[in-house]
């Protein structure tokens, strides 16, 4: 499979497991523990037979030894539909000209999708930008390639709301890769609803190093999504800016976590494979 610039990333995340944080609902055989108990080969426990149970699940040997009827309970495993929602607004095209935020967002989307796809989970993609693209979750082999093409063909521009994508995503695990500089309140409300309905929502907050520490000297800062917003940033205002920005980062993470959303902050200086492992690994620890 031609993977282009993502080859090294895919090699680096090969073997990484990304289990669901909770038992998943679903009948399709997969890698994640299911909320359903069935007749798989993975024994879990015995339970006294109740009227209505399938007689084929009765453990006849135990009945013969104890003269009591027990049924064998096994743990089912199911697939976990995962969707990547990638923010492609103008604020992601930063810093110029290398666009580190957008590069990291693309690599995280592909890396996490490849990890999920390796566990036979259907993966999908929604690009929220000037040129919107939605790929429904699929488990077929070519889905990763389609995602790469869609991401490579996108240039961050404009200002698009993420909340509708969160609301309408046809997946149980949503990974929202964004800088949270758009419709944060709406996004938080939509994520809260999805969490309440049993979905797993992960927000990967992309923060550029230049946002944490803008270039020195006086400069006229211009908001790429609202060009009329122009402010001077010089030595006197730098500390105030940094303090406001850090306070906002804390507030957003607190609000998201309070809503049951898993919040992961990703700075552009951190390698994408490391971030993928961190996101998947943390999930594994939480799942364990």
């Amino acid at each position: 499979m031609p993977t282009g610039p993502y080859g090294a990333l895919l090699d680096a995340v090969r073997g990484v497991r990304w289990p669901a944080a909770r038992r998943v609902m679903g009948a399709t055989l997969g890698a994640h523990p299911s909320q359903l108990r069935g007749n798989s080969s993975e024994f879990s426990e015995f339970r006294p037979y109740r009227q209505g149970d399938d007689p084929r699940r009765v453990d006849w040997r135990l009945l013969a030894r104890s003269d009591r009827a027990y049924v064998r309970l096994t743990t089912d495993r199911a697939t976990f539909r995962t969707s990547m929602i990638v923010d492609a607004s103008a604020s992601m095209a930063f810093p110029l000209p290398q666009l580190d935020k957008w590069r990291l967002a693309r690599e995280l989307a592909v890396g996490l999708a490849s990890v999920a796809h390796a566990e036979a989970d259907p993966v999908g993609l929604a690009i929220a930008g000037a040129g919107q693209a939605v790929l429904a979750p699929r488990a077929r082999r070519s889905v990763l390639l389609e995602m790469m093409r869609a991401l490579d063909a996108t240039t961050p521009a404009g200002s698009t709301a993420l909340a509708p994508f969160v609301t309408s995503a046809r997946a149980s695990r949503l990974v929202v890769i964004t800088d949270l500089l758009g419709d944060f309140d709406d996004l938080l409300a939509a994520a809260r609803l999805r969490v309440a309905s049993g979905s797993e929502v992960i927000v990967v907050h992309i923060v550029a190093d230049e946002e944490l520490d803008p270039p020195g000297g006086a400069l006229l800062a211009v908001d790429p999504e609202a060009p009329q917003l122009r402010r001077i940033l010089n030595g006197d205002l730098r500390a105030a800016y940094r303090e406001a920005f850090m306070r906002w980062l804390d507030d957003t993470s607190t609000a998201l976590r309070a809503a049951g959303v898993r919040y992961v902050r990703a700075t552009t200086g951190e390698p994408a494979p490391h971030l993928v492992r961190r996101i998947a690994g943390e999930t594994a620890r939480r799942g364990a």
């Binding site: 103008a90 604020s91 992601m92 930063f94 810093p95 110029l96 800088d179 500089l181 550029a208 230049e210 946002e211 803008p214 270039p215 000297g217 006086a218 400069l219 006229l220 800062a221 211009v222 908001d223 790429p224 999504e225 060009p227 917003l229 122009r230 402010r231 001077i232 940033l233 010089n234 205002l237 105030a240 800016y241 406001a244 920005f245 906002w248």
Partner: protein, 420 residues
Amino acid sequence: MSFLAPWAFAIAGIAAAGMVVLHLVARQRPAAFLLPTTRFIPDQRTLVSRAATRPRDLVLLALRVLLLLSAGAAFARPVVTPRRGSMSRIVLVDRSRAVASVTEATEKAKALLSDGVPTTLIAFDSMPHVLTPTALDSLASVPRSAAIGSLSAALIAARRASALLAESTDSIQLVLVSPVAASEIDSATRRLRAEWPGAIRIERLALRADSSAVWTLQTQLPADDQLGPAMMSSAPGAGVVVTRLVRAMATAADSAFARNGGTVVRWDSTAAVRPVAEGLAVGDEVIVAALGRRAMSTNGEVVARWADGTAAATEARVGSGCLRDVGVTIPAAGDLALHPPFQRIVRTLLTPCGVAAAERSADSVALAWLGGATTNAAQASTLRDADVRPSPLARWLLGIAMLLALVELAVRTRREPEEA
């Protein structure tokens, strides 16, 4: 090149220097930087003062400085002063009827051209004509003009030509190639001569053969005759051709005189006619004065006419002579007879039949004031127009300034989106 309003250029220079200083040490808007987290910057002033450590927008600076200097130079009214030679010359060549030989006049003019001094040639009779040096040869082949020469017209033409020459020379020599006949001097000549600030070098030509020496005026006028003063300038000589002036009816003896080859001019003064304003033309001479019309014979050739075209004097052949009848009466009061134009008319009317009108050289007094008291050429500075006109360079400079303003606007407009 000099400026008529140098203060305008000085102001522009100061403004340009100020602009350079402002450009280097001005309150500048810092470079624009796209920052998605701009909203977290406190909203304060949008301009900061800073001295430019490395000059920016040098093209814009150069355009603005050039714009200011061009506009300042245009408003300073630049005057381009051409390189001046030491001396120029104006030669007035007479070709009027007073000249004996036009060839002699052209030869003298050619001699003046040979020394290499830049020369403007003006040929004149009653009207001046500016000639090119190559036209001088063709002038020699043109017959002498029949018109009376006018030194006044020639001096006016010389004065006009000098205004142009004065821009490119330091001094101007005026040369008059003329016989300087008395008929060429009128009442304006002396005043016009006074307008010329230097000497006039006079190259005398031979006067056309004067017929006054070959005819005699035979008359006996009373002391109070009005024609007396008018005839004072005629001064005929003692030639064999005789004109007899008759102030009453012609007698048989007068007719016999005419038949024998004489000229009888009957200028009757006995008729009492009330004078009114009339125009009278005899040859090239025209006067307007209070004159009376007398009934006269219409036989013969008309030699003088009133302004309405009717005959004022006629001339008829009688035997081998002629009889001239003049129907012009002169008012008893007035100074008409003292006026030179009228005196010339009288002289023409008294000239014997078949004899051309006589020319008389100007007297020594006239020649003296015509030549002037000094021998120096006229200083060009005194001949230049008082109203110095700025050169067309001012308009070009203003156009360049406007063009620079448009270019500056285009460059500035192109730069602003980049900064945004």
